[in-house]
Symmetry: D2
Subunit: 327 residues, 4 copies
């Protein structure tokens, strides 16, 4: 513990440097942060660092900013993570270009031989409705056979990698046949505005389950750094939905608004599927609209502090999985 | 005219290099472009450059991508503009960091002495509802007096600038008392994804009128480069609106959806202002919701080709406004 | 003072939140930071946060990274500043796009009527050798007349601005005739890699004096956050110089290297101006080369702590310069 | 062929849409471009699009800009590529964040079962001097055994992938055990400034051979789009070298410059290894300096047009490698 004049957030300090397991061998740790909700307000108002404002005022401003997409003040908060994830997850993750990354180098260092193995309950068939996702669970015998094949291939890949290293072949060549399920790790630093964009896309049910698992833990960490922003993000982004011009046209026909803002269903108003198509909506948009007017959910990303692990212990495990570690 | 194997769009070629006046001395010209709607599709499908698809397929994909915020394929289209605008407009504009800019240098070159003078109909009082915009028009006598003061100050600033240059004072110092209404100019290059983000913010009624005037012309240019994307942008972005979690909660209570996607007002369903506040909405959000459920507009950004001017003529005018140009 | 587990740097804490005057009414304050030299090393090695390394090891790695342009680890350190500067300086500054900015809004707020007045010793003629900079000092009578004109124009601009506000004209319109010498302010946050790029360009003698004055103070602040990186930046960037292919060709003819790395002038070796041009160098490149082989300088950006001012006091001054502040 | 008013470059048109093979199954094709050397000049001078300048003037300006790191004008030129590369190469490539990427999706589509197999002459031992690269060639028997293992593992991975797809398992799961040597493909668009940065790092002998092979072809394509910039890049970036403060100190002691720019070895001047260390240089820096004062190379990235292939043919090959393609 050290003394600082910087803005300090007890809820964030409580988990700082703690490693939260994700999937079978992965983790996320919040290793540093800069700023909080109050700093978003301070930047939005370009104010001097003295005096205090009531939390209710800060909350109102934070919500206003988020609702109206005034996102630059939230760039003033920064978070730094240490993460380990399968390479196929890392490849999706790194597509978010507005972050700083330092990845463990397989040209310079030896890769720990840790591979991601999906659990039976996460093992699913190709979705029939969504051309890029998972649908129903796969039959148990398919899972068993898949697991057998994973084991066999990874054993062979590990042997090959180890043999090439023992033969003193360049590391950058030895690693080329490691499978995409191999774990890698990195430091990842991002500002709050861009983190929220990442989280919105990656906690979404359409994101691949494996990256979602990471995003959910990071959402819980973000909540501890900037709780008012977290709440506004849930309310305006994650559980909000965009309505198109055609959908607004439909709403205008179905609803009426009183001067005081009260809103009522227009008696007898209805739009058939054909009516909606007449407004320019495709078949797919009809089912999207149906989804938007169902009651929103209540997602909860609270961290389970009992799962938090020690940096030293996690580091030892990683080091122990490197070829020849215990020779 | 030259021959090229690159994708070429006749509607864009028609205006390429033509200068469209904006405000009293400003302009926008589309000076180059790369790609069109078809290239968005090609990138989204990572397809080879042979074969053709029907426009209806391209339209469906472009709309799907935009609706679901799959924005990376639209980064594959690029537009380059030459623009002249008052410095206070340039200062708002340059806050969009994802563009390439080359601005006319007042350290190296002489500034044309052209200043923006608001017209009477654009001269307005501070808004009472919106703390950063314009409200009602200002009285005519205020406008007359303002115009007198503009004229006087600009004459004095011009004299000062010219005198400093004649005294051989460094240009970077001579320009420091030019007013923010002085015109500057730049080349500005941006990809379509980021241009749409810019346009969404800058054709908005809350944007300052003077930058809106530029954005509207650029929207008309963009429509010629990528008409399907333009249409999707109007439908899903510009005339679309985000609904918050609380607003979706309200919609769910007021509407019911049938299995075939038909949607109807629930008989007698109504939410009072108090009910809406009970869902967590602030007073301001009530009036925002009222606005969202009114029928959307039909913006039209078509260019008026009769206004298009020749590069040479515009260049001569600018050069003629530089101190000592005709000596 | 608060307790934190985050990396904390006493030299940075000493100045945190202190306001350092720049020019006549400007300032720079370091208001927050994240990380230090040790975090650069930790990111470069993707290491866990326990254990310690000797400073000499960290220094060697930091220098190696900087020399070889491995810049991503230095993105892991972040600094946040509060600054006030003339608008013409802000316009140069904001061209660095890889930072987060929140500027004081002249649409929403009233501008303090503070203007930058160059001092006699900084008032110079247009450079004859460099087409965009300052050369010799200007005659005293030119300075006196310039100062008289500044005073007059600013008084008139202030009166105009105040009168428009009193007439309740929209603020976004009232400000359009403020001169470029008017002070604005912002929060500015940037990572160390991009800050160094900014500083290299802006402490350079070719940068306009007024922005250089800000960059020099920020260099002093950066030195307190990451002293080893600061030292490497001086040695490899600021006082280093790029040698072109032709210049290397010249060096190869003039010097010889022994196996142990000793380096000696080749007896009698010489290249005339014509010889150098024969290697492809322009006349201008000859004088650039002459400059590169003169002994490098010893720049010193240490802060003068006696100049540090209190946030509250500075804030009061700014607020006091707003029109009608003391009514 | 179509008519356009856009700047058109015959040397670029000649290869536009042609596929150049790289490694065993990869390729690079230039599929679109915007602008050329003349557009860099036009942006730097913020000039209107009429009138012409002599090539020698353009060359002088382009070289001046590059030498002095005025890089924004080169952002005005844009190139778009279609590329196929092994995943381990894609992972290095994508670390350059200032480009737009659309990658072939393994969640949505089936992966072609094409794998990179190093050739015997590129198969090397870990470098002893450079901790992240290749050194001497590996013994032939090691290569034979490696090739046997590659074949076996890839056959097994292909079988596994195909079996999972036949079992209708989600594609995003089926692909997790494909090796890093599997080929992927993408569209990649970047401006010339950022492309040059990429190329400088990736044609460097320290870059992994496999990514270098791609960068070299792209350098040849860039040369056709902007030949004057290409030349300046070779002269000032690729074959130039940075000299540190200590190295400049050394040069100042060894050389003397005459008023006309002539430069000569100082008679008898010499610096021993100890002297150089006394200037602050490390042992490693001594060998780096020795390298810098050897004569620069003459890299040549000209494309071999005989290798250019047809889009259709390449597309058929890729499609044919997808599981079940010929059933």
């Amino acid at each position: 513990m050290q003394n600082t004049k910087r803005p300090t957030i007890p809820a964030a300090e409580e988990i700082l440097g703690g490693y939260f397991p994700v999937l079978d061998h992965g983790f996320v740790a919040l290793v540093d942060y800069m700023g909080s909700d109050e700093d978003i307000e301070r930047a939005a108002r370009v104010s001097y660092g003295y005096g205090t404002r009531r939390t209710s005022q800060t909350r109102g401003l934070v919500r206003y900013l988020r609702r109206h997409r005034h996102t630059t003040p939230s760039e003033m908060v920064e978070l730094k993570f240490h993460c380990a994830m399968p390479i196929f997850v890392a490849r999706q993750w790194v597509r978010h270009r507005t972050a700083s990354v330092n990845e463990y180098s397989a040209r310079y260092s030896l890769m720990p031989l840790l591979f991601y193995e999906p659990q039976a309950e996460d093992f699913a068939l190709q979705s029939t409705s969504n051309r890029q996702g998972r649908g129903e669970g796969a039959p148990a015998e398919i899972y068993r056979e898949a697991a057998r094949r994973w084991e066999e291939l990874r054993e062979r890949a590990s042997e090959g990698y180890t043999w090439l290293l023992e033969s003193d072949v360049a590391r950058e060549l030895a690693r080329i046949d490691l499978p995409l399920s191999t774990y890698t790790q990195w430091y990842w630093k991002i500002d709050l505005h861009n983190l929220l964009h990442f989280l919105t896309l990656r906690v979404d049910p359409h994101a691949q389950y494996e990256i979602r698992a990471f995003a959910e833990v990071m959402a819980g960490m973000m909540k501890r750094v900037a709780p008012l922003t977290y709440e506004a993000w849930i309310d305006y982004d994650l559980e909000g939905r965009p309505f198109s011009r055609a959908e607004r046209e439909a709403l205008a026909r179905l609803l009426e608004v009183a001067d005081d803002g009260a809103i009522a269903a227009r008696g007898g108003a209805a739009l058939s599927a054909e009516d909606l198509k007449g407004l320019g909506m495709s078949k797919r948009e009809l089912s999207e609209l149906a989804d938007k007017v169902t009651p929103p959910g209540h997602p909860d990303f609270d961290l389970d502090l009992r799962r938090m692990r020690d940096a030293e212990e996690v580091g030892r495990e990683m080091a122990g999985a490197v070829p020849g570690a215990f020779e």
